[in-house]
Symmetry: C2
Subunit: 362 residues, 2 copies
């Protein structure tokens, strides 16, 4: 930070932003990592750089920004249902949604697990449409043993404060395509970074030097944080494994994950209480859990009214939105706290009967 | 900055962002100052918060982001010509452009000088349309003796590193309308700041704590910087006043300005060389000047092709784009350097004949 003040170079693709881009490209084994001020703007600029027009297939079981980026870019979402086990967009259902108005598929690597990127690459190639990925959750994760970042035309990471790699706010768009990288840099506005090319419009997606400084520190810490997250996820798996009606999402066998997300699915019948009741009890006990994502993008105010055809068309998504929750992980936790959270959940399960009576009165 | 790390609260409308918003609102005498990660995103979110649909009248003699914000928001620009003396959008020409498809006027306070905001407020009221202002240049400037920030439905400031108030990247949207402020905060995404309201879409326009920290420091320095800028502008006025064919833009009588912009207009006939020739000579002598704005927004790649009706309809704008330039000011300058720049410009004028011959060979 002192160097930033000494140089009096605060933004406009400065030396730290350039260094972060170079290190990210090397780490992820991609030709270009184009840093952005946040992941949402990365997705918006990505859609413009790809020169998309028409409809884009994406899951509704994702952070709302995935869909909102399309709306900002003048595109229409086509919401696709997801696989009940992996929570990822279902490639077969996506194939059935391709029509003449669809110009692209946006895959989302949910929970840092791979969303079958090679199947979506094939689907896009067979139909002559684009494919790109919202990889907001997936920094440092693999698909088929290959690091996420180089799949499709491009992949978009988020470096928000809640992410495994943090620049406080931030993100980057990765691609192996030189022309696409030039368009991304021009739309972002970069003050001379790379060659000027003709683009449909510009925005301001620049990452400041202060963001880049924190991103560089976070990148150095990544292996350590990944090991810590892995230990936390293993603790959750061990401690929750004995409680009926809970299912912890796991990285597929053979894949590396950042293990940032401790996501459980609650089967009300076996567990004794439904997700919402468990959520309210944990909240009341100051456990920082989240009903992530509820509602699905297809049922939010704007999309519900504008695209009513999707409201009742995503049964698996609706089921997950009502049964999935995130347990706390990351820097505010430790193994002791995780053990306490799991003990509390076990207590809730064992006393589900009386708690159900109390909850129904509340 | 140490406090940010101690709190481990890096973004999401943190304590520093809240403090900056409160101080800005007080300084500018407005009810709400909604901070954004940059001014371009502020303008994009403003257009969505105003629920605009259709066409918006704005000048083409402005930074390209003014127009681009409309394109991101799904709106069409109607480019209006400017006044040759003030360089501001001409209210009479704007009145002639209002038709049934026009939903709003976006005034731009160019060079920190007021763009007749009350005339545009009247024009909007008479036609039942919205009016808002791009005040990127105008922090701490007055219109009719009133600080800019409270005119129209809202005003958008930029806190980019090149601006008089800097948060490295940053901006804010000011309004006295509670409902509009709630919509702005919801579209920005603020994690619980203010009441939730129904909005057409969200984005991510959050200002991080590091940005807010620098913005707060810069706001403390503002009176000092304004005095410094004022002294620099007076020096330019005194030293350039004797050179024929140069006209320095000045704040209107009775108005306060941040004096951040030292803008001259070159009359080739009287000066002896045209703006481009003078620009190239100054550049060659390492004077950090800018041909700001060339071309006008109406002649940039995207708008030229999409809205050809404006290409030849803005004679004053075209003339200014060919004759106006910015001289260096701000923290990298001092009175000695300004005196050297003016001496160089005087030398160029006195030797315009031979230099013209050299320039024509180059």
């Amino acid at each position: 930070m002192r160097g930033i003040f000494a140089r009096r170079y605060y933004t406009n693709h400065g030396p730290l932003a350039q260094e972060l881009e170079a290190r990210l490209a090397k780490f992820l084994d991609v030709k270009h990592a184009v840093c952005m001020t946040n992941g949402t703007i990365g997705l918006m600029i990505a859609a413009k750089a790809l020169a998309l027009e028409g409809k884009v297939i994406l899951p509704a079981f994702t952070f709302i920004a995935s869909a909102q980026s399309l709306t900002w870019a003048g595109l229409e979402p086509v919401f696709c249902d997801v696989d009940p086990d992996s929570h990822q967009m279902d490639p077969e259902r996506a194939a059935a949604l391709v029509d003449d108005d669809v110009c692209a598929i946006m895959g989302v690597h949910l929970w840092g697990n791979p969303c079958y990127p090679e199947r979506f690459e094939r689907l896009a190639r067979d139909n002559g449409i684009a494919v790109y990925f919202d990889a907001a959750h997936a920094f440092g994760c693999t698909a088929g043993g290959r690091l996420i970042g180089g799949f499709g035309a491009l992949e978009v990471f988020s470096f928000h404060a809640t992410k495994v790699l943090s620049a406080t706010e931030g993100g980057c768009v990765c691609t192996n395509d030189d022309d696409l990288a030039a368009r991304l840099r021009n739309i972002r506005s970069s003050y001379g970074a790379g060659r000027p090319v003709e683009i449909p419009l510009t925005g301001n997606g620049r990452m400041s030097e202060a963001q880049a400084a924190l991103g560089l520190l976070s990148l150095e810490d990544f292996p350590k944080i990944q090991r810590r997250n892995h230990a936390y996820l293993e603790a959750y798996r061990r401690l929750l494994g004995e409680i009926p009606g809970l299912r912890l999402q796991s990285p597929p066998a053979g894949e590396t994950s950042n293990c940032q997300y401790a996501v459980i699915q609650v089967s009300a019948g076996e567990f004794g209480l439904d997700r919402d009741a468990l959520f309210r009890i944990l909240q009341a006990e100051n456990v920082n859990c989240r009903r992530y994502f509820a509602p699905g993008a297809h049922r939010t105010y704007y999309y519900r009214d504008k695209f009513p055809q999707f409201v009742d068309s995503l049964p698996v998504t609706d089921h997950l939105c009502g049964s999935v929750m995130q347990l706390p992980s990351g820097q505010d936790m430790d193994l002791q706290k995780i053990s306490e959270v799991c003990a509390l959940i076990g207590f809730v399960h064992r006393n589900a009967g009386p708690l159900r009576t109390v909850a129904s009165r509340a």
